[in-house]
Structure formats: structure tokens, C-alpha cells
Amino acid sequence: MRPERRSFYTLAAIGLFFLGICLLEMYGSHYDRRVANLMMIYVILTVSLNLSNGIMGISSLGQIGFMSIGAYVAAVLTLPAGLKERWLTGLPHWLSTIQAGLLPAMVLAGVLAAVVAFLVGIVILRLQGVFAAVATLGFLIIVKVIAENWMSVTRGGRGISALPAYTNLWWTGAAALVTICVVLRIVKSPHGRSMLAVREHDLAAQSIGINAPRIRLLAFVVSAFFTGIAGSLWANLIGVVSPGSFYLWLTLLIIIMMVVGGMGSVTGSVISAAGFTILLELLRGFENRIAVYGISYILFAAVFMLVIIFRPDGVMGDREFSWTLLQRAAAFSRRKSP
């Protein structure tokens, strides 16, 4: 397929995507829009987790900690000033008298998450494999403990509620698109190549001049940036942030989405996150009907274990979706069924 053709298809797909957003925003029910927003947020989370864990091969269990940071930053920034003065007594005066919009909240959420990732990464990324996994899990627990106890800024276990519902599909859709685009561009660049090389064999990578610790830190920080943004979008979608929201279940959910989509495949993550969001909603509806809750968790964990045993590379492995691939698949199926 010619390159011009490919970019035409890509542009057309993006156009369709925004058309869909437009239609949903105009005609979709509240519930439809909420599910679509969650889907976009899960896509951001999964794709950025894939950058650090799949593409870079960092064994992080703590990414949701960055989401938590992003969500709290957004909550503190966007909470109406009156409520801030009542609830969040520990804030400096200038902060408690303003109410920020979504864009500055998003940017600051991402930046702060990235800064924390930078500091944490300098320390934790020196660890390998399971040790890194448990250290990052420790980070997640630390974030939760702080959120639970720093009453004057996070309001502790009660959480911060009454956040303005700024988030809409234009924001989440655009953020998801930017995340996908940035991660894909990183993958197909010398930076991404270095990441993959370090993942495959870090000593061999160093032997050809790749600064392994630095490239790992870069992947970790970029991943945290987008995860933080997802947190801010989440806060202003749900309207409440509380410490328990960003913990083990969400961590596992995103890991499941990434592994099933294929570690290392950005498009796999997108497809998987979208599919699982819908599955999650269907199951939730089912649970509501029979009034037995928790089945979806159990089912997801079981699915994950089956995938890891029988198809450990996930659906896409580490390949990427491309129009050429689609064309070939179409040709193949046409040949099969004349």
C-alpha cells in the first residue's frame, strides 16, 4: 500500500472518531457518554502502562499511584473556592481562592505526576524484575497512605467530592489520541528503539552505547505524565476522588487490559481497553440485575490467568495494527470464502 494511501486512511479514521464523539455528545444518553469517557480514560491508562511495562519492560505495579496524584491535583485545582476553604484547610491562600479550568488542571496533573515519577524513578528503576515490582507496589501503598492521612489537603478517607463535571468526550478523546500518537512516535524513533533494546537485553544495549538507566527513566516519566492526565480526567468525570479508588483493583484491571492486548503493542492496548470497558459495563449490568456483586472481578482475574497460561503474548503480541495488515487479513478471508 502506498504511504499517501495509508495516511489518508488514518486521517479518515481520526475524522470518523471525532464524528462519533460529536454524535455521542449531541445524541448520546448520559450513560453512553459516561461509558465512552471511561473507555477513553482506560485507553490512556493502558497505553501509557504499555509504554513503561510493555515497551520498556519496567515491572511497575505502581502506575495507578500516578493516576492518584493526577486526580488529586485536579481535584484540588478545580474544586469550587468556597468548598476548598471549608474542606482543604492546609492549602496556601492563593490556591484556595481560585478555581482552575480543566486544561490547566490536566497539564499540572500530568506535570506533577511526571515530576514525582522522575524522583521515584531515580530510586526505584535501579531495581530489576520482581524487586522493582514490589518497590513500585510499595510506592502505590505510600501514595494511598498519604491520601488517607493528609487531611488538610486530601480530606482523608472521605475524599473530595462535588468536583465540577468538566470532562467530556472532546477532552478525553483528544487526550487519548494524543497519548496514542505520542507513544507510537516514541516507539518508532531512536528513543523507542533504545527502549526495546534495553528491554530485550540491557547489557547488550549498553555495549552499543545506550544509556540504559536514562532511557528507562524517560519511559517511566512519560508514562506517568499521561497516567496523571488520565487521573485528572477521571476526577472531573466521576466528581469524587477518594484514596480507595486508585488502588489494587484498578492496577490489576489496567494490567489485564495491557497483557490481553499484548505487551508492547500500542494498538493492541487500545483495542483491548475498549473491549474490556464494554465487557465491564455489560457485567455490571448483569450484576445489578441479579444483585450479586463482585462477579466481574472474579471473571476478569480468571480470564487473565487463562490468557497468561494459554496465550501469554496476548491478542496482538508485540505487533501493531496497520492498514497493510488489515488489507492482508481481508484478502486472506476473501480467498478463504469465495
Binding site: 526495546l196 530485550e200 544495549a205 555495549s207 552499543i208
Partner: protein, 256 residues
Amino acid sequence: MGTDFLLKIDALSVSFGGVKALENYRLNLEASRILGIIGPNGAGKTTLFNLITGFIRPDTGRVFFNGRNITRWEPYRIARQGITRSFQNICLFGRLSVLDNVVAGCQIRRRPSFASTLFRTRAFLRDEKKLQDRARHLLSVFGLEQQAERRAMNLAYGDQRRLEIARALAAGPRLLMIDEPAAGMNPKETQDLLDLILELKARFSLTIILIEHNMNLVMPLCETVQVLNYGRLVAEGTPAQIQRNPEVIDAYLGDR
């Protein structure tokens, strides 16, 4: 002090858990030479490679490359100075394509800024094209151009060995260190490898250090041969001298 040596090593020693893996090793290597290092298994040859390339830190001793003291540098910095290597147990980037293995080596010189990666500037695209072209050219030198799109782990054994050398060479070294390239190769493949190394040396004006057991490779290639045994340098000389040296024969075939 004659400082014309490309690589100069003084009194290098390291021990692991009380066992002296390398003891008081010294070397003066001029540019454009091929040095062979032989010795039985466990003699300390690979340890020496790991010391020079920074993967192991020495207990004592100093390594000078191109007049600069590179002792205790990080491996990636030593590589950027111009020393690259292959590994005894093949260490390719298994799931990457053959081409990407080599491109990863090529990109040592020009590393784009993160911003240009994100915004795909014209310079970025031009450099990326250059990298790919250079890598494909190298693959053709190694006869691997047909395999460019395959995953490295799916290559045949001999091709994997050559790809490792290609990757090391892609990083544009002045000193190339090859660890047992002929292990597990048959005589025909070994002969081809010999021709390849000679061609590389001439084409890229390399200095080469070679660890090898197969004398059919060492003898015709190397101008100087060092023999290690129990972590110590036991002999040094031309291949002909080494071949006649009774101590060397004993080290290899066992003492009488």
C-alpha cells in the same frame, strides 16, 4: 612513555569470592592490529573482555584507550568512546527485527532530541533515513540483507553470531572485541568468518581483539597471540611461536 598504543592496560586484577579470575594482566596494543587471546575454559578470557568494556569493575589496575583512562567507566560510555564487542553467549535483541538490531547500533552517533522525536522534524526524518540506509548497507556486507525483517531470535545460529558482530560494528568502534565467534561453526563457516573479519578490518580500519578456541581461525588472522591460563598471562608471541610453545600445548591438550 610511548603513548602510541590504542589500548594500554596496566596490572589489571579482579577476583570473585576469593578466586582470582584475572591477575596482573597487561597489554600494549597498537592500532590496526589483530590480537588473539586463547586459553582453556575458565582461564579468564571473557572476564578480561568484561573488564575492558566496563561490565565488571577491576580490583586494581588501569585501562587506557586512545590515551584516556577509561577504568571504571559505565559500559555505555566506553562504547561511545569506540570500544564495542560481541558476546560469548549470543545476546541479541531477540524480538527486534534484524534490521532494528543493527539500527540500534548505528544510532550511537546522532541521538535526536526528545522534542524532535515527538514533532517529527525534517532533520529527524532525514537522520532516521540515514540510520536505516547505513544499517542496510552493513547487513549487505554481512550477507544478512535478505533477513532484515525477520526477528533476530529466528535466525540460524551462524547468522546470529554474524549479526552480533554487525551490531557491534554498527556502533562505529575503533576497537572491536569478538568473543568466540566460531564456537559451534563448521569448517566451511569458520573459513567464511575468517574472510569476513579480514574484510571488515580493511574496510573499517579496525583494531580487533579476538577470543577464540579454534586455531584455524586464530593462526591465520592474528599478528599477536596471548595465552591465558588460570587468570594469568602465560605466553605472548606470534602465532608460530605460540604453536611451538610447550606450555601452550600443555594448557590445551593437557599436561603429559
